[in-house]
Amino acid sequence: MADLSVNIAGVEFSNPIIAASGTIGFGHEYGELYPLSVFGGISCKGTTLEERLGNPPPRIAETSMGMLNAVGLQNPGAEHFINVELPWLKKQNTVIIANAAGSTENDYCKITELLSDTDVDMIELNISCPNVKAGGAQFGKSPQSVEKITSAVRKYCKKPLIIKLSPNVSDITEVARAAECAGADAVSLINTLTGMRIDINTRRPIIKNVTGGMSGPAVFPVAVRMVYQVKKAVKIPVIGLGGISTWQDAVEMMMAGADAIQIGTVLFTDPYAPIKISEGLHGWLDTHEMKSVTELTGTVITD
């Protein structure tokens, strides 16, 4: 059997499949179904310094082969995460990534400083959540703002730092380069694409927040394109996500340039997806006589 392990910014993952932030909470629920070690890592729910209630409902709308969400960073706050969730998570035999969010540069620095003194393995900076008025997306909008927030946070960050990029930008490669220049150890992309649905019977948006973040299979080609472009633009590891739902998608995302992948929305359709994807990866690698999953990364042929 091939080796599925990957190393991202010095952190060893038993396989390249990471649960995407916000889709698995702090792991308890999916942990009822299988050991969380089926994932190489878990990116926890976006966490802010203080508890946040999140947006008023409805928060969810279905789209063709996808969905919108406007949960709005509902989370119990950094202290609860560190004292209650993290000790349990650390026993689950998988890499624990904290997903940090905030409203101001100061918030981001403070939460990074707090998390740096804990047992989390990595910090993923969420500067791309489209669902909160002051929730970070403004920091992810331009290369300048990404560079500024990344270098500010870098000073406080003693853990490997992943910058999570928003697809809602005109040139994703410039944003990725800005993160790299400012000291990011890796980038993850894509966060959700801002979308909207209207109930034609009531003439009202289905989501109370009016707009929501789009995810799921429908965004996959956009994510593959962006990962492909970013891989060519930066030297740091690239974590690819957005709409991956089968092992074939995982292979494709890695061929486009991903060193590791995250899966989110597919968990809602099929909670057992991570197991099926790693089995599929094993099968593919064995059939193609590859010894390591890392041999897949960036192997797309474009001539």
Binding site: G22, H28, G54, R59, I60, A61, F268, D270, P271
Partner: protein, 252 residues
């Protein structure tokens, strides 16, 4: 095992009205651990999101669900044929805690009627069921409820069947005589029942709906506003904290 994702075989399919279907799903492991008021999260071929559907009844290794065609997802589900495989996550949610020794009234409105069947079966025969429908053509499950031994009262909004009026009309007449209310149905109905319950100082539990993604409490998608004791509003989640809530804490 609290819940699992498993295939079931569709072993019975009945059309109760032109738009309401009664499905019998065979899966002994899941049936064994399912309680009244819990729900299943049903995979729909070609759809990203599953559809939450309440458990109507459990008989041996069969989970019964009754659903109405409301859109594309429920239409696709209604086209499944006997013998086909349906994947569900179940049992989900907290369900109703039905006291054995109390005089209970179970109230269902429209497509909120089916989940009350399994509840009524668990209660003693001194309990009452009030089911409300739009009109005669929408009436379902009368024979099943009669078999529970509970007293059955049926209403229609236009009087084409049963009592002419809303479920709250007969409720007003018996409310002083009962100990606890359980209800499932459209939000305005639940709200009116909860007002009545409060006025008569009766405990009342309602089953709420919300749009869902994960169905198990991980994504925080299915929020409902809940009043805290200090009067401020917080959010709880229908799939994990509910679908059954104490009506007093719901932010109507």
């Amino acid at each position: 095992m609290k819940f699992d994702v498993q295939d079931c075989t569709l072993v019975g399919k009945y059309r109760l009205t032109p738009t309401i279907y009664d499905f019998r799903l065979k899966n002994s492991q899941l049936a064994e651990i399912t309680k009244p008021g819990q729900f299943t999260h049903v995979l729909i071929p070609g759809k990203t999101l599953r559809r939450p559907v309440s458990v109507c009844d459990v008989e041996g290794d069969i989970i019964r669900i009754v659903f109405e065609i409301r859109g594309d997802g429920t239409r696709i589900l209604s086209e499944c044929e006997v013998g086909s495989v349906i994947n569900i996550i179940a049992p989900l949610g907290n369900g109703f805690n039905i006291p054995k020794d109390k005089k209970t009234v179970f109230i269902g409105g429209g497509i909120g009627v089916p989940p009350m069947l399994y509840c009524a079966e668990q209660a003693g025969s001194n309990s009452v069921v009030i089911n409300g429908f739009r009109d005669k053509s929408a009436v379902i499950l009368s024979e099943d409820f009669k078999k529970t031994g509970c007293r059955l009262i049926e209403t229609t909004d236009n009087g084409t069947y049963g009592i002419n009026g809303f479920v709250t009309d007969p409720l007003k007449e018996i409310i002083d005589d009962i100990d606890v209310i359980f209800a499932c149905g459209p939000t305005p109905m639940l709200k009116n029942i909860s007002i009545l319950a409060k006025a008569h100082n009766k405990p009342c539990f309602v089953s709420l709906e919300q749009r869902m993604a994960c169905g198990i409490g991980a994504c925080l998608g299915c929020a409902v506003g809940i009043k805290k004791s200090d009067g401020s509003i917080t959010y709880k989640h229908v799939c994990k904290d509910g679908p059954v809530f104490n009506s007093e804490e719901v932010d109507w």
